[in-house]
Symmetry: C2
Subunit: 414 residues, 2 copies
Amino acid sequence: MNTNSVTIDFKRFKQTLESSSDIGKVKDTGLYRLALSDEDKKMRDLFKKWMEADGLNVRIDDAGNMYGRRKGEQDLPPVLIGSHLDTQPFGGRYDGIVGVLLSLEVIRTLNDNDIKTKRPIEIVNFTNEEGARFKPPMMASGFLVQQFSQDFVYSRIDTDGLRFGDQLERIGYKGSPENRIKDIHSFVEVHIEQGPKLEQTGSDIGVVKGIQGMNWFEITINGHSNHAGSTPMHLRKDALMAAAEMIHKLEQKTADQSLLLTIGKFETSPGSVNVIPEQVKFSLDIRSDNDTVRNTFINEVKTEMKEISRRREAQIDIQDTWTSPTVNFDPALLDIIDYNSKKLGLKSLNLMSGAGHDARYISEIAPTAMIFTPSVNGISHDISEYTTDDDIYNCGNLYLGVVCELANRDKLTE
Amino acid sequence: MNTNSVTIDFKRFKQTLESSSDIGKVKDTGLYRLALSDEDKKMRDLFKKWMEADGLNVRIDDAGNMYGRRKGEQDLPPVLIGSHLDTQPFGGRYDGIVGVLLSLEVIRTLNDNDIKTKRPIEIVNFTNEEGARFKPPMMASGFLVQQFSQDFVYSRIDTDGLRFGDQLERIGYKGSPENRIKDIHSFVEVHIEQGPKLEQTGSDIGVVKGIQGMNWFEITINGHSNHAGSTPMHLRKDALMAAAEMIHKLEQKTADQSLLLTIGKFETSPGSVNVIPEQVKFSLDIRSDNDTVRNTFINEVKTEMKEISRRREAQIDIQDTWTSPTVNFDPALLDIIDYNSKKLGLKSLNLMSGAGHDARYISEIAPTAMIFTPSVNGISHDISEYTTDDDIYNCGNLYLGVVCELANRDKLTE
């Protein structure tokens, strides 16, 4: 089999992407397609129809993960491809959707050209990757690798108090435990970069070496509320002033380190113009490729925050809410992606993913890697998220080549 | 007439205060009695009944201000006393309520002892001093001095979209423009301190020299939203990091100045743990006794904030939402309060009010002063707000002496 001369049908892919972009559409270019919503159901129904029309054998597991298998010449563990179709509130049209729909386009191209592979190829659409409605994110891939139990997954509730298990049943996607994918030869996930590095380096493609480790914390500072007009500055225990000092000092500490530090949530109470804030709660997201660097930094951060609290006579509580060590993807798989990228004349960049992805969990049970396609201006999770046609086309053809090569291999290292 | 031997009936006062503390009671020791609420109506009805029972001639004006006049021997402009009966959400039982109910107790004591005065004495309960439901605060005293038009006042809306004018009518307190008080001989308002100075200096009473000037601003910083995991620190335009730097630097600037600076409201969006904040909005409340100091500081603050924004390539918008210059109360009135305080053997402290009060506006049309009674731990606008019985008793007797002296004077300086 030679796929060098075969390319994906980009016009067909674009039509598929446009159909997806209409389901949950907001503000012309955005999507609001939360996991297990009516829009998610509509998208799933359409995706299932597409997979069946392309001759795939469709299965749904008990977390709602959707699989579509294309038979191989031999009954071997499949090459898994795909990503997720859910979005953030006011998210973009690309994100993981590009990964799922390029998977479908790879299958269609193989069918068009009557290309057979030794191994089966299986598409997956993971449920609730975003974690926007039901926390945590990457819930259903985590479930597959036994990071989360079925009880845990089913009992997650959204802000309206609705249970994941009930909502999965409501939309008709509570499948069977037997349908969970077990033996996986290899998994390659395509996703948009969600950052500016590919664009800035003029790269066509990102060969993702792994996922940087991250820690999430929830910080609560309790000071003392009082009237803004009658409490001298030196007698105040202002929770917000304490937080501002902490945050500014933490930012300065990141200056010469390969670290990312983000405070995305910040709430103050009572929240009245003329009342000194009694309490501040904020989130802290710390990431680095290097677990040692990250852990050392976290210790420094905790010490600094406690010291500032102590000096200001405020109370501080630091909750560890999430820990995810750095994950390194399979080197043999990365070599195959690199090789195929060069064969297509694409300029690739090896990089770590800053964001978490389903590939993170699947890497615990199978050789895994990811391919990134560039994000214009590095924007994601926003209606202005955009990836150019050229970039998607190149990514699709690379995906096709990589998948064919994997599906015809016995071992990853030959 | 000699009031030296006459004292207020503290047991009666306490019963009156306890009746008030039951109307809108929250969390045992708090009050939730927003302007024009059902609780405010209930309190007003009871207060009207009390005033009528004590022989006062009750009037309601078109802003809902309640007056109760005790006749003088001559038809002269009255001595005005009182404050406000509305509270903050989860506010305390004392605040301005102590001022209104001590006014009533002064009248009752005069009645008990059959003490006549040359001038009439008039109690006032100002509508919506707090501004907690309808902004701005001190709305109805501002209305009396033509700071706010009737149209403006009536068209204020609460967070449910309900209009002030409609709600005033609903509770039956839309009175007549003719009932507005016009000629005022002098106004003395009693209020809790809402700060720690009296307690810290061991003072029984505060003789309030004036109200410090204040400015309110609303700051909006627009940065750039992006994924927390894939945007290098040096490429971020993080609105929250910009705000943290500003706030920390502004706090440092207040260190050796007689200034107060408070950021009571702080909101960030989109407000997701792993998304770099695009926008931050916060309030800024700056106060000082000295208008020159305050205005110079405000210019520095604006320059600093703009400089930080510029350096971080964020946009900043600074809206002036409120300006209130420093007000100095009437020196002759202050002398009378001082003198009566000494006569009673009370330890008094001359101080500026950090908070705004209705006396601020009334001072524009009549000689005005205030008396503060101490706040335990300086706490106010909170269910733990507390003033001791001894302090209130002393304050009530001082009020009685001051009111009698004023009501028998022709001129303030004799």
